[in-house]
Symmetry: C2
Subunit: 455 residues, 2 copies
């Protein structure tokens, strides 16, 4: 079959690219209410593209947030069904001044597509729509395909959970296939066998009831920035171990064997540091970089603000300071439990000189794909077909909040076939997706369906 798939893609590759660029031009930022109509516009385009690619039907499901796009192509109910999950929403593009071109004005440069969402996740879920087109047009589709492309992944998939629970029949499938992760490189293909969970909160620290003159009051009234800094500083100990009592209680410790396997994955510390422009790495003592992002939980401050942040100097003792704080979780940590632990710990360490308000943004559970599952084996075989070598199983650091829910509600495994790269600047200015990776993904996906149907 290889030949017909390749030929079809070769003939249509410019169109495959242009269609993606059109999708990338819609600023579908789920976090910002000003983009509500862009979200609908984007969902409508995704729906139409499913139909154009050969889906039997496609429709929008409204939620209390942004709509979910569902589509399907059922060739034979007795054949295996693959549920493709992805998301058409993207992260906010700020800070805008660090982009070399407009985040929603995609530019091709040096074989890379630069745009917000190019890799995360528009470029990656769109590969599946194009793979469907190839299989339909070449009469080679051997599985049923269902699509569930949501618009709230970047804000916690809160409405998708309800949708999945109330549409179990519609979503009934044998495996969930997700392209929303990275591989090591085109030369060293890999498959993420785990994603971390997430607990994302925001805190507001209030000192005095108004901004004060720092001369008249300085030294006599608690400064909320100083208090917040103290609280943040206390969350890691001198070994960069998270110092919240109970935080590690449920962490599934990796075995010596697992750690040995991880250590075998290629890792070049000098290149890693040079790429990031740092002189020294940072992290939990006793663990390697891959372990720190793969098998260990982490706690980051994603944003902080308070007082005067404009040009020049203002001698103010501010009334308020804020921070966005998130933890990445590993098996068997539970997102709700960690969120509660985090909020109650912050309340406990908040001194009486200030008032603390801490609230949840969103969370998600960690997930692991067993390497002996049919899903993993089909993905590994597909990659071997098109890359010519076995993929390395790795633990990814990111989060896809919905994974554990799919498994619980639909009773099926999830497999990650990600074609991005860690250097794709996800969530950062100048996000990109290599054209070669986009086309390689479209080429590889049909093989997954073939192997999964045959196993």
């Amino acid at each position: 079959m290889l030949q017909v798939w390749k030929e079809y893609q070769e003939k249509n590759k410019d169109r495959f690219l242009n269609e993606l660029l059109e999708l990338l031009r819609i600023p579908s930022v789920s976090a910002k209410s000003e983009h509500k109509s862009d979200m609908v516009k984007c969902a409508e385009m995704v729906k139409q593209r499913m139909l154009d690619a050969g889906a039997d039907k496609a429709e929008l499901f409204q939620t209390s947030g942004h709509p979910i796009v569902y589509g399907e192509k059922i060739i034979d109910p007795s054949k295996p069904t693959v549920l493709v999950y992805g998301h058409y929403d993207v992260q906010p593009a700020e800070p805008l001044e660090l982009w070399n071109s407009g985040p929603f004005d995609p530019v091709i440069k040096d074989g890379k597509i630069f745009a917000r969402g190019s890799c995360d996740d528009k470029g990656q879920f769109y590969m599946h729509i194009k793979a469907l087109e190839i299989m339909v047009q070449t009469n080679t589709l051997c599985t049923n395909i269902k699509f569930c492309i949501e618009g709230e992944e970047e804000v916690g998939s809160m409405n998708l959970a309800d949708f999945v629970k109330s549409h179990k029949d519609l979503l009934k499938a044998d495996v969930v296939l997700i392209s929303d992760t990275a591989m090591i490189s085109l030369d060293t293909p890999s498959i993420d066998i785990g994603v971390r969970g997430l607990s994302y909160i925001e805190v507001e620290v209030t000192g005095p009831n108004r901004d004060l003159h720092s001369g008249v009051y300085g030294g006599a009234v608690a400064n909320p920035i100083i208090i917040l800094a103290n609280m943040i500083a206390s969350l890691h100990d001198e070994n960069n171990h998270i110092s919240i009592p109970g935080f590690y209680d449920d962490v599934a410790e990796a075995t010596a064997e697992e750690r040995k396997l991880m250590a075998a994955a290629p890792y070049y510390e000098k290149e890693y540091k040079d790429d990031l422009g740092v002189r020294e790495l940072w992290g939990e003592k006793g663990f390697t970089t891959n372990e720190r992002t793969g098998i260990r939980p982490s706690l980051e401050i994603n944003g902080i603000w308070g007082g005067y942040t404009g040009e020049g100097a203002k001698t103010v003792l501010p009334s308020k300071a804020f921070a966005k704080i998130s933890a990445r979780l590993v098996p068997n940590q539970n997102s709700d439990k960690i969120t509660e632990l985090l909020i109650s710990h912050l309340n406990k360490i908040a001194p009486p000189s200030i008032t603390l308000k801490a609230s949840l943004h969103h969370g998600g559970e960690p997930y692991m794909t067993p390497v002996d599952s049919k899903a993993y084996k089909a993905a590994a075989a597909a990659i071997k077909d098109t890359f010519g070598k076995d993929p390395i199983p790795v633990r990814g650091g990111g989060s896809i909040p919905i994974c554990s829910l799919f498994e619980e509600e639909l009773g099926i495994k999830i497999v990650f076939m990600g074609f991005g790269l860690d250097s794709d600047n996800l969530h950062s200015p100048n996000e990109k997706f290599n054209l070669a990776n986009y086309y390689k993904g479209i080429e590889t996906i049909p093989y997954f369906h073939k192997h999964f149907a045959e196993m």
Copy 2:
């Protein structure tokens, strides 16, 4: 003389107010380059008002920053000369959403003028221009008066220093009179006998060379917000004592006698806390609130920012974090020395996982007026004349960067006759100046000239 002064003011009080309101409508924010032309407009208005009030001459002196307004009324070179210093620039008005009315759209409510600069310092220096008018119009001026009203007090008076050094003859006087401080209340008049010095710096902490995905990199790369929080947290110890080695070396410790006098000033802790809306105060162990803001140095974070600060959640491990940091200094600390100490300490504690850039915004020296000086005695006598009681000498917490320079370069003492209140929201939203204080100031100032001329 009392009678003619009072009568003149009574007849003209509405005009005295309207003239001030017009001045307050100009957004003369020295810190922001967008207000450069407003600064010139404001300076021109101040110049014209000096001439209208009876000055022999008034002119603008250009600097590399904002212009200085100089004016004078010389009645007799053999008489004492009073140099009035003030500033027509104001602090930035942000956060704008916390103002109940436009910061540059003055509103009179409950006998108070609400506007940025109403008290600090347009309302206060303008009292001197109106006092000049009263004395000229009633033929009662008994001193020579010089005005030096600058436009860079809120950003460190950097160009005023050069101006003073190069115009010693022009500024030659017997005393510097400044209204840019507060009194306890109209019922309990007080005179600030000291102002604190200032060292104001900004730091930029850079971690990775770009914003990173907090899942892919979280736990393995130093987060500049966390590093900055740790650095800030380390600047005070558990007793809220500033823990920078050498910081207190030059502090002139107050004697037991001085502390006893300070303790006699009225202070109501419950009212103080209630006014600020805090449950507990904060400060250096072993000192009272008045001591903490009067005789002790302090260190504040005036602003902090980094990462994602918009609506919703963004899982970013940011490249940069920033803070504005300032110290208030007391006799005999030196601003340059403390700035150097602060910057070198921050560089010393900066870990190798980040890059630190620390730079000076501006500084200023602390200043004390001797209570046995002729200047202080004249001010105290003037206050007794119009308030009916002796003022209490107090140590103020704010800074007027130029004081020590005036003394050094012109060889004369400075005296502070402030008519504001601590509750005037200086540097904060809803800055105000009580009408009663404005008129009382205009009423009192002529008595200072009278007593100073007679002593």
